[in-house]
Symmetry: C2
Subunit: 296 residues, 2 copies
């Protein structure tokens, strides 16, 4: 294993403890809700967004422990979005990360409320974080960008477009817009939030944003490819669902080969954005590659 | 109409414009989502929480326009909670404020996402507000308290307790705990957030918090009473639902007469908390009375 891959693995295993610690804010919450929140947030996963936070931090000279609040908040928003996406009224999925989805393990009402409470928890974490509190103006800016990334002009908006797209012939541009909102916005803020904390120059912010946008889209194209070619046991969720649900995807629009090429181009574009950085970008490079090479 | 009542009416009608303006942040969101968010947030209602924000602000010498961001954010969180509470998996209500509930006017998926996006919008509003930005540390504190009020230890937690309570014999203490979380927390932060913005002394904060807790509980007791005695056309939502759903309520535990007395006592306690304030508490007093005298 390369040094970079080892570092990433270390971040991944360290992050489980980070999440558990931050979830202690729910200790006095009603037990059923607490359990559902923990079930959804502590179910493993690739931790792509926290890794991007730490990777961007490394490029900017920030230590992982300074970024734990940001990483936890963003991952918790991701966890909430998965609970709600899986609901019967949405994608109606029974399986997530190899286990029953939250509404299957608990019930629909509890799952909806666990998602709601996780979203609130993310903002509680960002607003009580002691490292961020050293720079309250930057803290507010991070909260603002995270809120925008997960709201109507971001993740939630993208999910509406996704659901509306079932059975439609989208253009490539429409498909990209949908994914830019649905997954791209939160992935991009993962890369840019550390720069906001560091008080980095606008150009750095822009480059990290473009890096994040490219990685986010590449990640999604690879997701679409895995849905066609992957193994549901490895992936931990149902496959072949896009075609069964008649959802427009990159492979359905471009074919598998061109989708792979497109993902590769986006990886290259992402890496090109950060090439001039003076900090250590090994992890950001690794993550851009991982987005399109992972088997789950 | 008394001067106080006229002022409250003026605040109410002014607040519609405030909300419309703040909702402009959704202008570029997907149209369906934007419509559902506006439908839920701009459907009238008593605006109890914004009025408490303005009322507390008046007692502290703050102008309404300095508090618009806080008032809008809290009302938007309230609106999101109503959308989710009305869902089939929760209270399964068809009627809200005299109109079809959000999932009836749109569909379940859109309603869930409109709620999700409204929660994010509340934090976007708080973090982009220019008045709050003059005191970034206070702004962060307000965001933190709002997040706590609507999360697992607040509103979402209370809703879990509410759903779990169906068919159970709760003690009075358990019933109060449920309402303290479900409605009390957000009503209390409505009264305390202006004090956080003003940088008020801890004693003022504590008194406004207790005022809000008392008003919140009185408000809820009166809600339970209205569900028994009220007219669904006046109230704008179904009545007699608590008994039909076998939900524990104050009238079912204490009887109607004792429930009315309890609400009255809480109103008196609320007013006693603010009696020593040097600022003008006429609106806060009026609102404490309104909580237990309204017919809808």
């Amino acid at each position: 294993m390369s040094d970079t891959a080892s570092l990433i693995t270390a971040w991944q295993s360290r992050f489980d403890d980070v999440l558990e610690t931050r979830l202690e804010l729910t200790t006095s919450a009603p037990e059923l809700l607490r359990q559902a929140m923990h079930y959804a947030a502590l179910s493993g996963g690739k931790r792509m967004r926290p890794l991007l936070v730490y990777g961007a931090g490394r490029a900017l000279g920030l230590a992982p422990q300074d970024l734990d609040g940001i990483a936890a908040a963003i991952e918790i928003i991701h966890a909430y979005s998965l609970i709600h996406d899986d609901l019967p009224a949405m994608d109606d999925d029974d399986l997530r990360r190899g286990r029953p989805t939250c509404h299957k393990a608990f019930d629909e009402a509890t799952a909806i409320l666990a998602g709601d409470a996780l979203q609130a928890l993310a903002f509680e974490i960002l607003s009580e974080d002691r490292v961020l509190a050293k720079h309250p103006e930057r803290q507010v800016a991070i909260i603002n960008r995270v809120a925008r990334a997960c709201g109507a002009n971001g993740m939630a908006g993208g999910q509406v477009l996704d659901l509306s797209a079932v059975g439609l012939d989208l253009t490539l541009e429409q498909l990209q817009t949908m994914h830019r909102l649905k997954t791209g916005a939160l992935i991009a803020i993962s890369a840019t939030a550390p720069a906001l904390l560091a008080g980095a120059a606008p150009e750095i912010l822009q480059r990290l944003d473009r890096y994040g946008q490219c990685v986010g889209l590449a990640f999604q194209i690879h997701d679409d490819i895995l849905d066609v070619t992957g193994n549901s046991q490895t992936i931990g969720k149902s496959t072949q669902k896009d075609a069964a649900q008649d959802k427009p995807t990159f492979p359905s629009l471009l074919g598998l080969d061109n989708s792979r090429k497109q993902a590769q181009r986006l990886r290259d574009d992402a890496v090109a954005e950060i090439r001039q950085f003076t900090g250590n970008c090994d992890c950001l490079e690794w993550l851009a590659g991982y987005a399109i090479a992972r088997d789950s």
